[in-house]
Subunit: 307 residues, 2 copies
């Protein structure tokens, strides 16, 4: 889904570790790009305006009223300004109606709210940024899978988010490669051997805490080399995520996979293995399309109370 | 099960983080105890004899030929001397027949081999030390559960180990409390609230990587306080282990639980919840009984080739 905005604006994807800004023209066309390593975890208190100005200086200097629309962890408690969560069902217009205006005399600047979700099984989940990619993934009805430190699976109906859940896949992987079970890992990774072992051992009864110990013992027993350890652990966690998502959402669905390397190939392979159909979605394009769809539903140049 | 040895000996439980020595008399009675923090991870290369002498000086000085029987990580590749693994089925006599003699002119000193196990599902597991506790737990036929960094579940038939598996429960817990999902943890722990939440959310479809993220969101949503985070994560992993063991070994079994505080209560509670019957076994007593049962099956004072 690409939507045209009524006026040029700067779309900012501002996450934990980096910031990406895109100058979007009247018809949704990309007029320029900027990026910086000033993620939310590295911007000092009170330093957001400067970090933004530094990245967008060329655009701002020629247009003092150019509006800015930001999404991601920039709206978290540790970000620039805390934006509330909107609960499903919600689409771009629902988030647009709940934008937070960043105080600034000159320039209209807005932060998109996050989305939270309570599920019937007692779960509670939050996201900031992934909802934008879900909107931009071109899905009317279906599932969106967004791999990451905290992978999100988003269920969409009529272009609106109806439910989502989180799997701490990337975080657990980072913890395990630092831990005892990952200690026999060697580089360069033997991706094929690791993934093959993960596919086999993810079927072992006993669950993840049993399976992950095999990252050590399968090397000790010389079944695989240390080069298989990291792709094995990664594969095991991806299989656990996808098999868990199948339990939650049912099998056979079309999944829009918003991923780039190195997640793209292992996720696609595991999704197909578990009986899903896969449509690849390029992450940066999805973010831009999502922010543009929000911009399209309002007049960003306005500074009135509706915003 | 307590067995009497034919002569006094020193039983040494030498693990990664500490060493415990017990002077055992002719009839299996405890004549003295010593302990040190000289675990395998802190003893320098070539320093094992000195660490042992320091701990047992009082006994050694009066009996130059007092035999020593050691088990645990002291027999690993990074220990004093690498002892091989024995494969199931194996009982005390099988391990006694494969002792490794530590070269020493004066004193007979032996290291008990570890046990390894290949399971039909492709798993491979190893243990050093837990097999001794399994032998000492007084189980003829049944299951032994030994919680720890790498929890072991040991299946016994006719007093011999027939199968065992590992769950990296303690290791994963240690990784998670250091990780992002554990960051909202507060002390003192609210054990009851954490365990109650774990019992509920361990039933959530999607598996462990979904459930563990709730350690964060359930605090954000004020369902529990930060004081519930650690007992919640611990409880979630214990439930995963026990539910995994039920898948592996079947329900309804009697489980001999070799555990002390703080593992004892949450494991017992979860075992009962999952339909197991529980018999508590005191860990130090089990180690001593296990080493004594091995000593009983041979003459430790001999230095002949059979040893």
């Amino acid at each position: 889904m690409t939507a045209s905005s009524s006026a040029p604006f700067v779309a900012v994807d501002w996450g934990t570790t980096r910031m990406r800004a895109t100058l979007v023209g009247m018809n949704g066309e990309i007029l320029g790009r900027a990026a910086s390593e000033s993620g939310v975890q590295s911007v000092p208190a009170g330093g957001y305006q400067k970090a933004l100005d530094d990245a967008c200086e060329a655009w701002f200097s020629t247009n003092a009223a150019l509006p800015v629309l930001m999404s991601g962890m920039v709206g978290s408690r540790n970000g620039w300004l805390e934006a509330p969560y909107v609960s499903p069902p919600c689409g771009p217009a629902d988030l647009a109606a709940r934008l937070i205006r960043v105080p600034n005399d000159a320039r209209p600047m807005f932060i998109v709210p996050g989305v939270d979700c309570r599920t019937d099984d007692g779960g509670y989940d939050v996201m900031r940024g992934e909802e934008i990619q879900a909107f931009g993934a071109g899905v009317k009805d279906g599932l969106v899978c967004l791999p990451g430190t905290h992978s999100k699976w988003v269920e969409m109906e009529e272009g609106r988010i109806t439910r989502f859940v989180t799997f701490a896949t990337g975080e657990l992987y980072a913890a395990l490669v630092q831990s005892f079970v990952g200690r026999l890992a060697e580089e360069p990774a033997d991706v094929e051997a690791g993934q093959r072992l993960a596919r086999t051992l993810s079927q072992m009864p006993g669950g993840l805490t049993r399976q992950m110990f095999q990252a050590r013992t399968q090397v000790l027993s010389r079944n695989v080399s240390g080069r298989a350890v990291r792709p094995f652990l990664s594969g095991l966690l991806i299989e656990a995520e996808i098999s868990g998502a199948r339990d939650l959402f049912g099998a056979g669905h079309v999944v829009h996979l918003v991923a780039a390397d190195p997640q793209l190939q292992p996720y696609r392979s595991a999704l197909l293995h578990y009986g899903f159909q896969v449509i690849d979605v390029e992450p940066e394009g999805a973010t831009l399309a999502g922010l543009t769809s929000i911009a399209a539903s309002l007049d960003l140049t306005s500074t009135g109370p509706a915003l």
